[in-house]
């Protein structure tokens, strides 16, 4: 019951301590995890945004340069001059010397007639009329036209840029075909890592560049449709069961959309190292907290149990002493009340004896019988007198005399009183005196009575043939006390008897052998001298009395 109670308490303490320490620890761990995750996600998103914006700028710059190049030529040279093929060739050569991406160059009048052409397909394109082409309509209305990528009969991905110029109220068009490889090159620079991809789509969701993984040029890409994106989109999206981080950014002219795809796993791989470290620290912390909690709780519970035991012990001692005090008073009262009648009985018997001495009665037939009866009465009165006197001594607690006493010497002297008895019963008394035992200030007479009582009891307990061991020492735990240990190898004392052993009138001896006061008186004496008596006993093995005397 006692230990179960502490076990429950211990578990409660462990749960409480673990709760109070682990919950904040785990909360901290989770917060760090999410904070970290968020920051990193933001960082990935931001870097993707920056990447997309940079690429967009590069692409737009590329187009702007080409457009302004064409514009410059169209604005600074007259229509008449440019439609001369030799001059156009010269101009084209200058352009190509700066950028190989120009494939051909042509001049078209307002009616759509291809008047001059420099490039690899002069045969096919020279006399073509573009009046009904969509791009021809478009460039006339907007002044600048950039086509989507197409293969045409060149079988090389390319696109066209056309600009208009007005001369003498007549509109004419300068048209160039440009290899789109350079766009592919710019875009492929954004294909990051092992699984990253980047491509351009037009507003009809048709690929304008060749992606790494997302399909073929001039087909729809294997990705969510970003063709109608208006602003920059950075989003984690799932496509065909595969989750990717997509960044889409519209390009102003032509009306394309740059799409960059990143593998989040690949990006987050950098973070997983940090997670691993965090988890390790957290795990280590948790283990440390658990171990610490279990250890300190165990320690605390043990201390608590010890304190409780000490308390119970001192309470027992207190109860015992107050019991002794009350019983002492009662014993003295009873003894006094009985002494008077005893005195009278004794005197009456004595008087009868006196009378029997007179000669007349001596001759009586029953004289012997009377005489015996009176003797018995006197004997029993004396016996009762012994008891009441001991009771009175027990109750009285006479003032003690204090002197410096050598406990070893006192014990040796006490043993001499009982040596004959022990020898007669074949009981050996072994002594083991601590030679360095200090002298103490105490009452030798009373202490001797205590030793006599205990040793006498031990001899009675052993009965015939056995051993007594008497040992003196300084208490190692508490050097303020000397310990006299009196052990016997008698039959031991039962648990029930052990709890009552210091109670007055408690005895296991026959009525005419003991009064049950010896140990009770001894207990009272030792308590009064500032020490205490303890007893340990194992049934069948023997009993040990510890008399603790203050070392003063």
């Amino acid at each position: 019951m006692f230990h179960k109670h502490y076990e429950t308490l211990r578990i409660k303490m462990i749960v409480m301590t673990l709760g109070f320490s682990l919950i904040p620890l785990l909360a901290l761990g989770v917060t760090i995890y999410y904070q970290f995750n968020n920051t990193f996600q933001n960082k990935i998103t931001e870097s993707l945004r920056t990447l997309a914006q940079n690429r967009k700028s590069s692409i737009e710059l590329f187009f702007d340069e080409r457009i302004s190049q064409l514009n410059t030529i169209a604005q600074t040279h007259s229509f008449e001059r440019l439609k001369e093929e030799s001059f156009l060739t010269k101009v084209f050569n200058v352009m190509q010397s700066r950028s190989k991406s120009f494939i051909d160059l042509g001049v078209i009048d307002s009616d759509g007639n291809h008047l001059a052409y420099v490039g690899p397909y002069s045969e096919k394109l020279k006399s073509v009329n573009y009046a009904h082409e969509d791009w021809f309509q478009a460039v006339q209305s907007t002044g600048v036209y950039v086509s989507d990528v197409f293969l045409g009969f060149r079988k090389v991905p390319h696109f066209i840029i056309a600009v208009t110029s007005v001369e003498n109220n007549r509109v004419w068009i300068l048209r160039a075909t440009i290899n789109s490889a350079i766009i592919d090159e710019i875009v492929s620079g954004a294909q990051i890592g092992k699984r990253g991809d980047a491509f351009i789509i037009n507003r009809k969701n048709i690929l304008q560049t060749t992606p790494r993984f997302a399909g073929n040029l001039l087909e729809s890409p294997n990705s969510p449709d970003f063709s109608s994106s208006r602003g920059t989109t950075i989003e984690l999206m799932s496509f065909k069961g595969e989750e990717s981080l997509y960044g889409a950014i519209p390009i102003s002219n032509p009306q394309w959309v740059l799409v960059i795809r990143e593998d989040p796993q690949e990006e987050m791989a950098l973070l997983s190292g940090a997670y691993y470290t965090e988890a390790l620290i957290l795990g280590f912390g948790v283990i440390l907290v658990i171990l610490g909690t279990v250890f300190t709780t165990r320690l605390m519970t043990r201390r608590l149990i010890e304190a409780q035991k000490d308390k119970a012990k001192s309470e027992d001692l207190m109860i015992q002493s107050s019991k002794m005090a009350a019983l002492g008073k009662m014993a003295a009262g009873i003894a006094h009340e009985i002494n008077n009648p005893l005195q009278i009985i004794g005197d009456q018997a004595g008087w009868m004896k006196d009378l029997l001495e007179s000669e007349d009665i001596k001759k009586s037939e029953n004289f012997e019988e009377f005489d015996q009866c009176i003797n018995k009465i006197e004997r029993q009165v004396n016996r009762s007198r012994e008891i009441t006197h001991r009771l009175l001594r027990f109750g009285r607690r006479m003032e003690t005399t204090q002197e410096m006493v050598d406990i070893n010497h006192l014990l040796a002297e006490t043993i001499t009183f009982l040596e004959n008895e022990a020898h007669f019963r074949d009981i050996q008394i072994q002594t083991e005196y601590d030679e360095l035992l200090p002298k103490v200030s105490t009452d030798p007479n009373q202490l001797q009575q205590v030793f006599l009582n205990i040793i006498d009891n031990a001899i009675d307990a052993v009965g015939q043939s056995g051993q007594l061991r008497i040992r003196t020492s300084t208490d190692l735990k508490d050097p303020k006390e000397l310990v006299v240990q009196i052990s016997d190898n008698g039959p031991g004392i039962s648990k029930e008897a052990l709890s009552k052993i210091f109670d007055p009138f408690f005895t296991t001896k026959r009525a005419d052998e003991g009064t049950g006061l010896g140990l009770s008186i001894s207990y009272g004496i030792v308590e009064k001298l500032g020490g205490h008596i303890e007893v340990e006993s194992v049934e069948g093995k023997g009993t040990t009395f510890y008399v603790r005397i203050p070392n003063v």
């Binding site: 003295a332 003894a335 006094h336 002494n339 008077n340 005893l342 005195q343 009278i344 004794g346 005197d347 009456q348 004595g350 008087w351 006196d354 009165v381 004396n382 009762s384 007198r385 009441t388 006197h389 009175l392 109750g395 009285r396 006479m398």
Partner: protein, 130 residues
């Protein structure tokens, strides 16, 4: 042995009676009283050598009676009977001039020895006085 006079004062009448009888049987003059005042009256009228005085008595305690005795007849020896279990009373008696104290119940022979010794001391004291 001289015939000397013993006075027994105790509130237990049975004790007093028997004691007186037994003392007389041993050839002594003996009187009994069952209270302090009664004993003091007797003391006034008779020349008592030794008083056997119980400590615990109603009306007037043995200690008070002892004081009176020592006031009236300082040479009278007193043996205190302490049934009370208080050695203090006995010791107090000694301090007030009692010859000795003895704890009840006391065997007659022992008491008789004490009475004789008390009487002998009284004789010594008397001689010294005269």
């Amino acid at each position: 042995m001289d015939r000397f006079r013993v006075l027994v004062i105790d509130d237990e009448i049975d004790f007093v009676e028997t004691m007186v009888k037994r003392l007389k049987d041993r050839g002594l003059e003996a009187d009994g009283a069952t209270s302090g005042p009664e004993g003091l009256d007797l003391l006034d009228n008779k020349d008592v050598d030794v008083v056997v005085l119980d400590v615990k008595m109603p009306k007037m305690s043995g200690i008070e009676v002892l004081r009176e005795i020592k006031k009236k007849k300082p040479l009278t020896e007193v043996i205190m009977l302490t049934g009370h279990g208080s050695v203090e009373a006995g010791i107090q008696g000694l301090q007030l001039g009692a010859y000795n104290y003895v704890m009840k119940p006391v065997p007659f022979s022992e008491l008789l020895t004490l009475i004789v010794q008390a009487y002998e001391r009284k004789l010594i004291e008397q001689e010294r006085d005269s």
